[in-house]
């Protein structure tokens, strides 16, 4: 058992560019940071068999997902010399062009943030029980699957 309770990583709907800008702004008081690296997942308007994805509707096994996000966080802090780390993921409907995942890492030095960010994003894709229903413009759907 971990002693720290997992935070809630989920946000209702898309993650706005204002929220991201504001999150960057808040780090300007942390003057030991030399490098930030940010990953943003954006919903693609994929064409599949002649139909276009209009949105993804995200659901999750929320308690387990937040625990997994927490584990990824702890393991990233153990592996890499990070000053800060933030993860936000959407639940509910996110339209094509909108942002559904925001991962933000900061460190005194740049080499660290590149390695850490890729590690975290790959772990999220592989280990966190989040499900995505790709909704086409004609209201039919299919289920998204990470590769």
């Amino acid at each position: 058992m971990k002693d720290k309770k997992p935070k809630n990583v989920f946000r209702d709907g898309a993650i706005s560019s204002d929220f991201i800008g504001n999150s960057i702004y808040k780090h300007q008081t942390k003057t030991s940071i030399g490098a930030h690296n940010i990953f943003l997942g954006q919903v693609r308007a994929d064409d599949i068999d002649g139909k276009t994805v209009a949105a993804i509707e995200y659901t999750a096994y929320e308690d387990m997902a937040n625990q997994k996000f927490h584990d990824i966080r702890e393991s990233a802090f153990e592996k890499f010399d990070l000053t800060c780390m933030h993860i936000y993921h959407s639940l509910g409907t996110v339209k094509a062009g909108e942002i559904c995942l925001f991962v933000f890492v900061s460190s005194p030095r740049r080499k660290v943030v590149f390695e850490a960010l890729e590690y975290i994003v790959e772990a999220i894709k592989a280990d966190v029980p989040v499900f995505g229903k790709e909704i086409f413009e004609d209201d039919t759907h299919q289920w998204k699957q990470n590769n």
């Binding site: 659901t59 999750a60 559904c100 995942l101 894709k125 029980p129 989040v130 499900f131 289920w143």
Partner: protein
């Protein structure tokens, strides 16, 4: 044992529900799945993993917990 079973995504489309409580005598995950397959025919062709108390488990894992979840392929990010 009284178990809460949770269904997500395309699995919940098959079961037509997101959660149910079952009183069952299954000793391990494999036995529980046999029971669920007989109840929901469509599950057999679906790809999913099983979690017990929020940890992924294998078919041979003994049932010890109160919460079982059927998880279709992950699609986060």
């Amino acid at each position: 044992m009284l178990l809460t079973i949770k269904y997500f995504g395309q699995i919940a489309e098959v079961t037509q529900k997101e959660e149910e409580t079952l009183e069952c005598s299954a000793k391990n995950i494999s036995e529980l799945l046999a029971l669920l397959y007989s109840k929901y025919e469509g599950l057999k062709i679906k790809d999913f993993q099983v979690a017990q108390n929020q940890e992924l488990v294998s078919e041979s894992t003994e049932i010890t917990g109160a919460e079982i979840a059927l998880l279709p392929p992950f699609a986060g990010g």
